[in-house]
Amino acid sequence: MLEINGLRASVGDTEILKGIDLTVNAGEVHAVMGPNGSGKSTLAQVLAGHPAYQVTAGSVRYQGQDLLELEPEERAQAGVFLAFQYPVEIPGVTNAYFLRAAYNEIRKARGLEEVDSIDFLDLLEEKLKLVEWEPEIMSRAVNAGFSGGEKKRNEILQMAVLEPKLAILDETDSGLDIDALRIVAAGVNKLRRPENAAIVVTHYQRLLNYIVPDYVHVLSNGRIVKSGGKELALELEARGYEWLEDAVGAAS
């Protein structure tokens, strides 16, 4: 589904990704872990097309397409979804309006008919249950005045409605209490399908107790320094990141 080769990316003069190779197949969940500043959030944002980053080398193929050639909205329409680490507040636009606009744009791009607000409400009802939310949340402005947990839950709700093929969760666990974490993780798990894939970016192993990954990759200083199965996350939890960084430092 996704094939990243030698990906390098910078912000301004600072290179953050220094050659990433990663293949994600349909049905798989990959965890990308690493210390602060390792480039894991950058990787997530580059895949979604964040304009602040320049890709300087490498390629990303997504379902046979050159992902880097696509505008952010084209990526979304093609089924890529980024759950933001810091979801943006949009005062003045209701959650319902925003999400229906997004949903309809994606349908339009796929040659499907747009849905009206009544049909959309029906669809929402079921999705709201996934994140254990009452419909009232939809008449509030997008993320405006939401708590940290509510914002993350809203990202998962958007994901549930937009039904991406490739979901990228950028530190969705940060700032969540245990209840919110459980709800968010349950939402993600219910959306797991053999034809979909997910990349879960996280600093802590905690989230991976709930969203069990097939593969774990450790990012350090813009490179994947170690890959393994889900047991790697437990090892990181026990030993921290230093031993990996030391090992890499010694090797180079």
């Binding site: 505008e71 952010p72 909205e73 943006v88 949009i90 003045g92 925003f98 606009a101 949903y103 402005a141």
Partner: protein
């Protein structure tokens, strides 16, 4: 041009158009003299520094004299918020149009009538309020309006009455109004403990025509009264509009203003609110949308004269093309006005490189135990918000439109009256669609 107005004034004096209570004629005359002395303001006047009124001062304006042609309710339908049932006074080219107006059923204790009619009948109400709130010294434009005061709307809500349905004062200029000046004068008096919603609209069926509207509204909100006052300015984009709203509030009253401006080549609106007693609340919201070469100028002044009052002001602007906006927000807090809570915000969104904003908060605080804040911003759409919307599938143009709409909606949401709020919402959306 000043002379032309004086000659016109003299020609009218002593004729039927100069009717009204006895005390009024000297007031008109002194207003005329005030204008004749000062003439139009110039760029040297601090209050008018950023307001290019040259085309008004140099223009040659005929008095607006109503409509000769046919005009039916269907032409006014776009302006009535889908509510032909609301009490509506219609003025066409500056003159009250009885056939198009509808007063409907009003609760006992409420009077809604054209000023020209009231001038001949109700001396007491006018004597108490007319010209008592808006001083002619305030500006040459107010002086001119007062000198030619005759047409306008009077809304009087008696003590304790809840005016359940809004009253709409609708000023329409048609193609026949090209080249004219009108001086609408409104008086809104909400007595003790009464409750009302009043809308003033200045609209055009004369797209591209040049004319000048010079309205003054005097508003008195008595003790414990509640008033929502919505002002909608949708003049022709070639027209000129210079208006004053002067508000006096008494103890425990609540005044909520929304000033919406999207028309006129040059639009100036002064909103002055005086908080004359304790425990008063004043909310002032504004939204201006400009494009092309339009200039939108809002001057607000809030006078905190007494303790324990709260004023809250949010004006927002969206500017495109080579348009300009001016915002000047004065807050005066007298030494005795302790525990004043005043907040003023002016936020501007620039959609083009050619647009410009001059924004100036002006706080003069002479009390020490107060909470007064102000903030002004001029900026562009947030890149991160744009990326967020695009990452959800919205194309760049749609994302920008949505975020621009959101910027406006945040203040439009403050209009309490649902049909009016929805109409403003629609107007914003329509305008953004054409950007």
């Amino acid at each position: 041009m000043t002379d032309t107005f004086v000659q016109e004034f003299e020609a009218r004096a002593g004729t039927a158009t100069a009717d009204g209570p006895e005390w009024l004629e000297p007031v008109r005359r002194s207003a005329m003299e005030r204008f004749a002395r000062s003439g139009f303001p110039t760029a040297r006047d601090e209050e008018w520094r950023f307001t290019p009124i040259g085309p008004i001062a140099q223009g040659s304006w005929r008095p607006a004299t109503g409509v000769a042609g046919e005009l039916g309710p269907e032409q006014l339908a776009p302006f009535n918020f889908g509510h032909p049932d609301w009490t509506t006074l219609v003025y066409v080219n500056g003159v009250f149009h009885e056939a198009l107006s509808s007063v409907g059923r009003l609760p006992a204790g409420v009077r809604v009538a054209g000023l020209a009619e009231m001038l001949g009948s109700d001396g007491a109400l006018l004597g108490r309020h007319l010209t008592r709130h808006a001083p002619v010294e305030e500006s040459p434009f107010t002086a001119l309006n007062t000198a030619f005061l005759r047409e306008g709307g009077v809304v009087h809500v008696g003590a304790g009455v809840d005016l359940e349905m809004p009253v709409h004062l609708l000023y329409v200029t048609t193609v026949e109004g090209a080249g004219t000046v009108a001086h609408p004068r409104n008086l809104i008096v909400v007595e003790r403990g009464a409750r009302a919603s009043v809308i003033e609209s200045y609209v055009s069926l004369a797209s591209g025509r040049i004319y000048w509207t010079n309205p003054v509204s005097e508003v008195a909100v008595a003790a414990g009264a509640w008033l929502e006052h919505t002002r909608i300015q949708r003049e022709s984009e070639s027209a000129f509009h210079v208006g004053l709203t002067q508000v006096d509030q008494e103890r425990d009253s609540h005044y909520r203003s929304f000033s919406f401006a999207m028309g006129a080549a040059l639009a100036r609106h002064n909103l002055h609110v005086r908080l004359n007693d304790e425990n008063i609340e004043s909310l002032m919201y504004g939204l201006y949308l400009t494009r092309g070469e339009q200039v939108a100028d809002n001057h607000t002044a809030i006078y905190h004269d007494q303790p324990n009052c709260r004023s809250w002001e949010v004006y927002k602007g969206i500017l495109d093309g080579r348009s300009r906006a001016v915002f000047n927000g004065k807050v005066f807090v007298k030494p005795e006005a302790q525990k004043t809570d005043a907040k003023q915000t002016n936020r501007n969104l620039l959609l083009s490189d050619g647009a410009r904003v001059d924004t100036k908060p002006q706080l003069e605080i002479f009390a020490d135990d107060v909470k007064c804040t102000h903030g002004a911003t001029v900026g562009r759409l947030d890149d991160l918000a744009r990326f967020y919307a695009r990452s959800r599938g919205l194309p760049a143009a749609a994302a920008e439109r949505l975020l621009t709409y959101a910027f406006a909606a945040e203040v439009v949401d403050e209009v309490a009256l649902t049909p009016v709020r929805e109409e403003l919402d629609r107007l914003v959306f329509e305008r953004l669609g054409s950007l």
